[in-house]
Amino acid sequence: MNFALKSAAAVITATLLASTSAVFAETPEEKGMAIAQQTKIVDEGWGDSVAEMKMILRNADGQESVRDIRIRSLEVDGDGDKSLSIFDKPRDVKGTAFLSFSHTVGNDDQWLYLPALKRVKRISSRNKSGPFMGSEFAYEDLSSFEVEKFTYQYLRDEPCGDETCFVVEQYPADKNSGYKRRIVWIDQSEYRMHKTEFYNRRDALLKTLEARNYEQYSGRHWRPTEMHMINHQTGKSTVLQWSNYAFQTGLSDSDFSQNSLKRAR
């Protein structure tokens, strides 16, 4: 190991020690916030990604229906991410596309492309708590995680599978959120979300989300292969299956415009 690398390693070790000790010196609110910031920091620099998402809806009787969606995402420095989703199934909405600019503060900007009318419609992003395409995922469950969208409280450490997780309570800053709070299990080795419990406005447990089979991309960015959402009040569930993930595909701002929305296939 040459000197430059050694000193870089020393700096990193010192930084980690400093931040760890800082975490211990903090209040539960500050520690919760620090964990949230760290989940963003460890994933920073993903740039852009494309992926395919299969959504399997199951009602209480076990009947299934499927949605196929392709998602392109772009990391934005200093603000929320951009995403463009293209619907392939169900067939009657095939070709419909959805463009979203999420913001750390204030309303997101959202546009919908309706292929039958060749029309792009700017839509209200107020509908946070409504179900996405009849699934158990609300719109807010699928929007990108931004530190500023919540306040935090660290609760405890707890084993999760082979890992140890931070258990953190998150309180949505947006009054239009359907939740009073979420409790999130985040592993301490890689800051991956393992489980989230959603509590409705009346503070009753509404849903539980589990993320499974994480895979690492570009040697750095962890993404789950499956996400299971169970609604405890209706007995319905939705599974998200992710496939064909690719990072740094060369997408740029011009791929996330109203014009690209009209052309999306």
Binding site: D109, S124, S129
Partner: protein, 411 residues
């Protein structure tokens, strides 16, 4: 008859489109192309509550089939694409509604800062719901939809520039499409049928007149803004009575030249959508304004999350007032309720009412639909019309209340 006129015109138009496409495309090799086929079949039944009011009209209920496939080919890593979308309808009653159209045969070059389109295509401009005064590029296929939601393919050469300060569309529109009208036997027409073969034009170039359009659009925070200019043939004709010396026997479309500038703007403020379209048009030595403006508010998660409800109100305005015989919504108040059920069948229902503030004429419309399984959709549409003032063009449809049931299969 309309379908005969179309069949005669079709080879010319298809050749033009093919020439436009061929002139600018280097054809792809099979290895690097992506091809997708999609579309839908539909069967439709239309049931009228009263017998046909006019001579020649059939009182029979209508059965109708339509087919709308789309072929999409992409190459060069998505930079080049070609879209082909023909449309075909067969109608049990109205020969003019049995028609076909080339909705799209469009080559697209999509660069990073510029796009180029050539062929036959469809363009939508506007933000409002009940009508779109700024939406002037494509002709309406009115036998498909009375209120202009179905369009005929328009030959076009279009450049789109994408500078920092917005989107600039420059369009050259060679060739004009005549509006479709119900035939003699068809319902939802005026007392006299429209003879599309008797169409006349202000321009000596008739349907070969070359039109031009320019539009700038941009998103500025919560505002989406568009400004346009158009010079060419007005897609919306004036209908003039024709006769053989005696009483009029038919109506003939007269297509005037027009020049217009217009603005469309939508403000998206929380759950409120404020929308306005305004046009200033000069046509046959007359200059006048047209507008459509209104507001929509959405309630989310009503009845414990069962459905979302959008409430909208819009006013249509035409500076010419009741003289605007080519404009159904010259001083009309429209209101609508949009129900979106949060179920896995994506059930939805739209209820709209329009009242003419000059004549008192009213119409109401219900559109409800839901998905069946993965690939089917069933729709129920109903329209009720109550207009007795003879100066209101809507009064011609007073006896045409109907219910329509549609089953679509998507692939």
């Amino acid at each position: 008859m309309a379908h005969v006129a179309w069949q005669q015109a079709a080879p010319k138009r298809t050749l033009l489109a093919a020439a436009l496409v061929a002139s600018c495309v280097s054809l792809p090799t099979a290895a690097e192309t992506y091809t997708a086929i999609s579309g839908n079949f539909a069967v439709e039944g239309r049931f009228f509550s009263e017998d046909a009011p006019y001579v020649g009209q059939s009182s029979d209920n209508v059965t109708s089939l339509s087919f709308a496939p789309e072929l999409y080919i992409e190459w060069g890593d998505g930079v080049h694409s070609l879209t082909l979308s023909p449309f075909l309808r067969v109608d049990s009653v109205d020969a003019a509604r049995t028609h076909n159209d080339l909705r799209e045969l469009l080559y697209l070059y999509a660069g990073n800062s510029v796009e180029f389109r050539a062929g036959v295509g469809e363009v939508f401009w506007g933000v409002t719901e009940f009508q779109n005064p700024v939406d002037v590029i494509n002709q309406s296929d009115t036998v498909e939809d009375l209120f202009g939601n179905a369009k005929l393919g328009q030959p076009m050469l279009a450049m789109t520039f994408l500078p920092e300060w917005g989107v600039v569309d420059v369009m050259v529109l060679p060739g004009f499409r005549e509006r479709s009208y119900p035939g003699v036997a068809g319902r939802l027409r005026a007392g006299l049928p429209v003879d599309v073969n008797a169409a006349t034009y202000e321009s000596d170039d008739e349907d070969a007149h070359v039109d031009y359009a320019l539009r700038w659009s941009q998103t500025l925070g919560d505002f989406d803004v568009g400004v346009h200019a158009f010079s060419g043939t007005n897609r919306n004709p004036t209908l003039l009575p024709v006769s053989d010396g005696g009483a009029p026997t038919a109506l003939a479309p007269f297509y005037a030249q027009m020049e217009q500038v217009g603005v469309d703007v939508q403000a998206t403020l929380g759950a409120w959508l404020w929308k306005a379209e305004w046009v200033n048009r000069e046509q046959q030595d007359e200059r006048f304004g047209l507008a459509q403006a209104g507001v929509e508010y959405s309630f989310y998660g009503l009845a414990d999350g069962l459905f979302d409800l959008g409430v909208l109100v819009e006013l249509g305005w035409d500076e010419r007032g009741v003289d605007a015989t080519d404009n159904l919504l010259q001083n009309d108040l429209g209101a609508g309720l949009r129900f979106a059920f949060n179920d896995e069948a994506s059930s939805e229902m739209l209820l709209g009412v329009i009242e003419d503030q000059d004549t008192g004429g009213r119409s109401a419309q219900l559109e409800a639909s839901r998905r069946l399984g993965d690939s089917w959709r069933v729709s129920l549409d109903a329209r009720w019309i109550d207009a007795s003032d003879a100066t209101d063009p809507l009064s011609a449809l007073d006896g045409d209340d109907h219910v329509q049931l549609t089953l679509e299969r998507f692939f």
